[in-house]
Amino acid sequence: MASVVTRLKKKQIEQLIENGKRLDGRDLTDYREIKLEQGIIERAEGSARVLLGKTEIVVGTKIEMGEPFSDTPNEGVLTVNAELVPLASPEFEAGPPNEDSVELARIVDRGIRESKAIDTAKLCIEPGKKVFVVFVDVYVLNHDGNLIDASALAAVAALMNTKMSNYEVEDGEVKVKSGYVPLPLKDHPITVTCAKFGDKIVVDPSLEEELVMDARLTMAIDDDGDICAIQKGGAGYFTPDQVFEVAKIAKDKAKERRKKLDW
């Protein structure tokens, strides 16, 4: 993304952070205000909308039947896709997924997959032949920084909101029964992204901060408080001490959020 931040603004952001404050008045470890809504797209099996400051993400889930992967013949399949739709930012262009949208999708996927959030064993219809495929589609509607945390949050919220048709297998055929069952979930991972400015670590970077930061480090924390996914991004680096500092911040922030959301 090629937006340019003026040199003055860059200096301003850096100096504020040196003194423990940010452009919008937040402390270094404060998140912006988060608003979460579920079930906003009735046609989807599950959906959620997250507002993280001015970053807006909508996630819809769809469930279909398909073939399992050869190395996991008795388990359902998860597929995550992310769209950085052109209306969300002057920097986004229409076209096939670029590296940013591929990375975003794979980070969200990793958090869900590695925490075993979805109980994929319960999504098996006919072992080795038919399973449920869960499609998670992340739609970025407005980009004001930290797409990762907002998308990951919306994705898990959408999964928690997802309902599947009741079914039974009769003579090798799948018959839909009445009623719905919730998608079987075992975990609710929470993702925390930090940005590095020199020797300072900042939580939940806004878009302007992202354009100035050295690098970002994202960690997904599962219900046990363990780390299940990590992704460093950006063209800078972290010292090993800073990595562990981020791990501690991620653990604390995830715990805080889990409590607030009652996950």
Binding site: P97, E99, D100, V102, E103, A105, R106, R110, R113, E114, S115, A215, L217, D222, D224, G225, D226, I227, C228, A229, I230, Q231, K232, G233, G234, A235, G236, Y237, F238, T239, P240, V243, F244, A247, K248, K251
Partner: protein, 246 residues
């Protein structure tokens, strides 16, 4: 179809290939292997066979992508169709797209981007045979290729992964350990600057285990770094030996 081994670490504490938990696979590095490239290197680590080539700094194509105040770094990580057990389509997969990005971001901090405005540097990584840890070995080779091209660098970048296998934190996962283990933590760093430029993880680790894994990976990186330096210097040594023979 391969059978899944029961245990990845046996009663003596040795891994499937006989290594101890903190042992690296043997690493072989060679610099200057592709005559047409401005810089190149080849790495063998375990059964990994990976080539890296660098072109640049050179003019940017298409021109409108040029940056007025710095060079453009491009990186392509690609796996040959025959590099893995089940043939892989030559078209770039989403995994390759993501890895190309994170590898580029691991090399960029080492390069003085502002030195050559309006140019581009192309890094190509081709995995000829994969055996776990290809992104790490690829980064190690790519850094050598950049140095071989005479591109000024802050430090070499070296990479190594650690992970968890059968409740033990181990260094340098091979293919089976990668697939069947419970965590994989690839790390790339510039050792002289104590700077970690690539860090990823998938699996499940407590904070203590994570710390142990990162520290182990950093140690592994430093060992491979020594091999990298020797590989670069080998060009000088070769010439010295020729001269001694006269």
């Amino acid at each position: 179809m391969n059978e899944k081994p029961e245990k990845l670490i046996d009663k003596k504490g040795l891994r499937l290939d006989g290594r101890k938990p903190d042992e690296l696979r043997p690493v072989k590095l060679e610099v200057g292997v592709i005559p047409n490239a401005d810089g190149s290197a080849y790495v063998e680590q375990g059964k990994n066979k990976i080539l890296a080539g660098v072109y640049g700094p050179r003019e940017v194509h298409p021109k409108h992508l040029a940056l007025q105040d710095r060079t453009v770094l491009k990186c392509r990580y690609h796996m040959a169709p025959f590099s893995v057990q089940e043939r892989k389509s030559p078209a770039p997969s989403r995994r390759e797209v993501e890895l190309s990005k994170v590898i580029r971001e691991s090399l960029e901090p080492a390069i003085f981007m502002e030195y050559y405005p309006r140019t581009m540097i192309d890094v190509f990584i081709e995995v000829l045979q994969a055996d776990g840890g290809t992104r790490c070995a690829g980064i190690t080779a790519a850094a050598l290729a950049l140095a071989d091209a005479g591109i000024p660098m802050r430090d070499l970048v070296v990479a190594c992964a650690a992970g968890k296998v059968d409740d033990t934190i181990v260094l340098d996962l091979m293919d089976e350990e990668d697939k069947l283990g419970t965590a994989d933590v690839p790390v790339a760093m510039m050792p002289n600057l104590n700077a970690i430029s690539l860090l990823q993880m998938d699996g499940k680790l407590t904070h203590e285990e994570f710390e142990k894994a990162v520290n182990l990976a950093v140690e592994g990186c430093k060992k491979i770094y020594a091999v990298q330096k020797e590989a670069l210097k080998a060009k000088y040594v070769g010439i010295k030996e020729e001269e001694a023979e006269e």
